[in-house]
Structure formats: C-alpha cells, structure tokens
C-alpha cells in the first residue's frame, strides 16, 4: 500500500491504527535483529501516538509511521547521533521538523542508525558499541551513509513509512542510492536545523527518504518553513511540492556533468544513469554535456577541509558534564574532558576532530580553512552559471555499486572520502538535490542524482515522478 492510500484509510477510520502499530513494531524488531537499522525503537511513544490518532485521525500524515535519524532530537527518546559520548541523552525538546511532523499526525517508530555524528558515507563508522546497518539487498554490503539506518528501513519495511534523515555532504542521497529509495536534500535553510545534533553548521540539512516520490514531496510540505529558533532558516514561502507531481517535464533543459562519467565511475553505474537521461529525453527534455572543472576536481578537498573544521568546533561541547557519557569526576578540567572524550569518541570522530583542529590552528587557518571557503565561492559561482542555461544538472549519485564490507576495509581514509565525489559539491553550494532509483545491476540498486537551483525543489519532484514505482 502506498503512503497516500494508507493515510486516507487512517483518516477514514478504515484501519485499526493501534493494532497496525503493534504489527509495525514487531516487524521493526524482527528486521532490526538481522539488519541493525534502529538504534532505538520508541515503542511506548509510538503506541501512545497511535491511541491519539485512533481518537482523532487528523493531519496530513495521520497515523503514518516515520523513523527519525538518531542525530535529530525527539523529546524523551534517547538521541545519540550514533555516538557513545551521547549514550543515555534524552532531549527535553523536539527538533522543529519533528514537532511539525507530530502536528500532522505521524507515529514515531524509532531512531535510525548512522555513522557517528554523520562522519561517513557507508554507515561503517558507527560509534563505539553501535552496530553497523546491513544493505537490504545483500547483507555483505554497506547501506551507504551516514543515514544508513533510514535508507535500509525505508526499503526493507513492508508497511508504508517515511524516513527523516540528515545530510551534510551526501548522507541522505548515498544511503538512498545504495538502498534503492528516493532521498531528497532540500536547499540549505529550507528546513529548520533546530534540534539537530550538528556536524557542520553551514552544511547540515534535514530531508526525507521514501519509497515513492510522493513521500518526499509530502514530507517536504510538512517540515519546510521559517523557524525563528534557527538563525540560518530561510524566511521564504513554502512551495506546494505535491503539485509538481502533476507537472509535465516537457521542455526541461538538462546539463549532464561530464566529469562525473569519467574512468573513476563504474561502467554499470554510467550505463544505468545514461538510460535515465535518455528516458527523460524521450519525455521531451533536452540535454547537453557540460563541464564543471573546479567543482568536480576540488569539491572533495574543499568539503573535507570545511566540514572537519566545523565539526571540530561543534564537538568541543562534548565533555561529559551536562549530558551523555560521563566518568567519575577527578583531575582538572583538561584531564577530565580528555579522559571522557578519548574513551567515548570512535576513531573516525577523533580523526575528523583532529583534521579540523589542525585546519584552524594558528599559522594554518588561512592556508586551509579560509582557502577552502574561497574555493567554495568559486564552486557556488560555477553552479550558478550552469543554472543560467539549465533547469537541472545530472550525475550518478555514487560512483560505485554498494560495496562489500571487505572492499571498504581495504580503503585508506582518503580513498573512502573520495567516494563522496558526486555528492559533496551540491552540498557545499547548498543546492537542493535528490537521489532517484534508476536501475539495478547484479541485483543491486543504482541511483541518479538530480540537482536544481536554490529553492527549486519542485523541479526535482517533477523529474522524480517519471521514475516512480
């Protein structure tokens, strides 16, 4: 059953929602044993919300089960961002996006697994003592990351549901691609970041993952909008995203970024994405191959310099005092904080904190951090020029098929970072983009990424519907 049919049935009282949620929770537990998609299953909250919906089945998302990435705060539900340093932390408030979804009648089923603080493209950098989520199509392979639990659960669950994920440099579109679902990353500032356990403030964005394009459009209508609690929130009118599901794509101009189809990209990925482009051409779009030389060559270095710098300051607040992991208080400030942080941060978190600390150390700041911020301006400019001539830009979402865990073990950290080559740049520029499942190879899903200009999320939905199930 599709999400829209399910919601209609709930609103019409054709479904016993409490009974349904009991079944949903049982299925979540069963899936979780095998695939590790949920860090927490919020059984009590879900059943309470189901009782309320039974009495009053109202709202645009009435009775719909949704999963929330673990880095997004849900009141009184453990929210760890996949890190041991936040073990036991129960926020006393909802993130704004969660609050908005609750107002429209959702049922929160749990907190999804992720790379610690979002530090990864495969969800293999789970924090100390956390389980790694497994790909729904092949358990020897990664889900993508960092919203890996959200990607896996959205695909694997038999019941209608939507995942709320978060993306800094590819964390929605990568798992969406490897798990074969739609994943939409909105314009920076379109959805409030209030209540997000942050990674990089100038890069973080919340967005939906869904089996169908309608799911993303509907969720975007609910969670978007200005929020005075987020200083970077955009005070612009929210589009009616579901309207774009009926809009013809004839005449849309596509720019195909040719560097994204170079030797580093797997042939089966290239083939399937080109099939997708040809399909759009048949529907009346025109395409032209274009070059974004700075963006494609320097995106990774720019992103990792800026993202680690921001992360290193954001993670300075975790010191084992007010919330999360703590130790017996002994020694001075430095000794105590160092002890808590060293025991509870995982290896990739340590690596990124240190890379960022280095990039903003006295004597290096201008050469690394400021330099990268300047190249970021050039990347934004390059995209803006492209959008003078094109409505949307296309690349593969990931350059490879979902890798096996054994393949990933062989990569150095830099080789691992290079896998984000397609996704980091639209994120640096704060541009909306979407993963569209476009085909299968060896029974593994392949994703095509569509990028549009700021606040043009509607075009992503308009194009995405052509590939709906």
């Amino acid at each position: 059953m599709k999400v829209q049919e399910f919601i209609k049935k709930v609103q019409d009282k054709d479904i016993n929602i409490v009974e349904h949620i009991h079944k949903v929770l049982e299925e979540c537990k069963k899936i979780n044993k095998e695939y590790h998609y949920l860090n927490t299953i919020s059984e009590e909250l879900a059943l309470k919300q189901a009782e309320q919906i039974k009495k009053n089945p109202k709202g645009k998302l009435a009775g719909l089960p949704i999963s929330i990435k673990d880095s997004i705060c849900v009141k009184d539900i453990e929210s760890t961002a996949g890190s041991k340093i936040l073990k036991g932390y129960k926020p006393y408030f909802h993130a704004t996006a969660v609050e908005k979804a609750i107002k429209e009648g959702v049922i929160i089923i749990g907190k999804t697994a992720q790379d610690e603080f979002g530090f990864g493209g495969f969800s293999t950098n789970a924090g100390v003592d956390f389980e790694i989520p497994l790909n729904p199509f092949d358990k020897n392979r990664a889900t993508g990351g960092s919203s890996g639990g959200a990607g896996g659960l959205t695909q694997k669950a038999s019941f209608p549901n939507i995942g709320l994920g978060e993306c800094t440099g590819g964390s929605i579109e990568s798992p969406a691609s490897f798990c074969g679902v739609f994943g939409l990353v909105p314009t920076y500032g379109r959805v409030s970041r209030y209540g997000l356990i942050d990674y990089g403030n100038s890069l973080d964005k919340l967005g939906p993952l869904g089996k169908n394009i309608y799911d993303c459009a509907l969720m975007m209508e609910v969670i978007s909008g200005y929020d005075e609690k987020d200083s970077t929130s955009l005070n612009k009118e929210v589009d009616s995203y579901t309207k774009y599901l009926k809009k013809d794509i004839k005449g849309l101009k596509i720019g195909v970024i040719k560097e994204a189809f170079s030797d580093g990209t797997d042939n089966s990925v290239k083939k399937n994405v080109w099939n997708g482009i040809k399909k759009l051409e048949k529907q009346g779009c025109t395409y032209k191959e274009i070059s974004l030389p700075i963006t494609m060559k320097y995106g990774i270095s720019t992103y990792y310099t800026l993202a680690t710098t921001e992360a290193s300051t954001n993670l300075a607040k975790y010191c084992g005092m007010r919330y999360g992991a703590s130790e017996e208080i002994k020694g001075n400030f430095d000794e105590y904080f160092t002890n808590v942080r060293s025991k509870n941060f995982g290896k990739e978190a340590k690596r990124r904190i240190m890379l960022g600390t280095f990039a903003r150390m006295s004597g290096f700041r201008d050469a690394y951090y400021i330099k990268a911020a300047k190249v970021r301006s050039l990347i934004i400019e390059e995209y803006k020029k492209a959008f003078n001539n094109f409505d949307i830009l296309i690349t593969p979402t990931m350059p490879i098929l979902p890798p096996t865990f054994k393949e990933l073990e062989k990569l150095t950290p830099l080789q691992d970072y290079m896998m984000d080559i397609m996704t980091v740049s639209p994120n640096l520029a704060g541009l909306p983009h979407i993963n569209i499942p476009v085909g299968f190879e060896k029974s593994l899903p392949i994703g095509m990424m569509i990028i549009s200009d700021h606040l043009q999320e509607g075009k992503l939905i308009q194009v995405g519907k052509e590939f709906d199930n």
């Binding site: 904190i353 240190m354 890379l355 990039a359 950290p413």
Partner: protein
C-alpha cells in the same frame, strides 16, 4: 610542514584527545595523505575571491528582547549524574 608523530600528538592535545600509541602511529600516514590532498587547493588562484562561510546569503534575524518561559532546572539536570543541589558538578577549574 612535516607531518610526524610529534605534530599528531600536539593536535590531539589541542583537541582534548589522548591517542593510544597505535592510533598515533596510524594517523601519521593517513594525515599526510589527507592534508596533501587538501593542499591541492593551492593550485587555484583565489586572491580576489571572497570566502563563503554559508552557501547562501544569511541575514541576521533579530527578535525582541522579551523573557520567555524556559526549561525547568530539574529537567536540565536529568541528563547527568554529576550534579549537586541545583547545579552541574564539574572538575576543578584550577
């Protein structure tokens, strides 16, 4: 700038992290490789370019300075075992 174990330990200290011997040794070649790739940005001329600290223009949102209802102290203290009366308990400052 030579990336060696000494530098790694200095950066770790600034980050309030204590690395194991093995971690420090592993990080040396990894940091060499990563920082070398960051330095690729030197190939681009940026003298006349302004840095972007956000992807879009951000305007300051100001609000009236009015006292609003806040969180109860008890609620705030719920997430830690290090507390005394109505205060957080922390390590010695001196």
């Amino acid at each position: 700038m030579e990336i060696n174990k000494e530098l790694i330990l200095k950066v770790a200290k600034n980050s309030r992290l204590k690395l194991t011997e093995k971690e420090a040794e592993e990080f040396v070649p990894q940091f060499k490789e990563i920082l070398n790739s960051f330095s690729k940005l030197d190939e681009i001329k940026t003298e006349k370019v302004k840095p972007s600290f956000h992807p879009i223009e951000i305007k300051n949102h100001l609000r009236e300075d009015i006292v609003k209802e806040s969180i109860e102290t008890n609620e705030l203290l719920k997430n830690t075992k290090n507390k005394k009366e109505n205060y957080f308990l922390g390590p010695k400052a001196l």
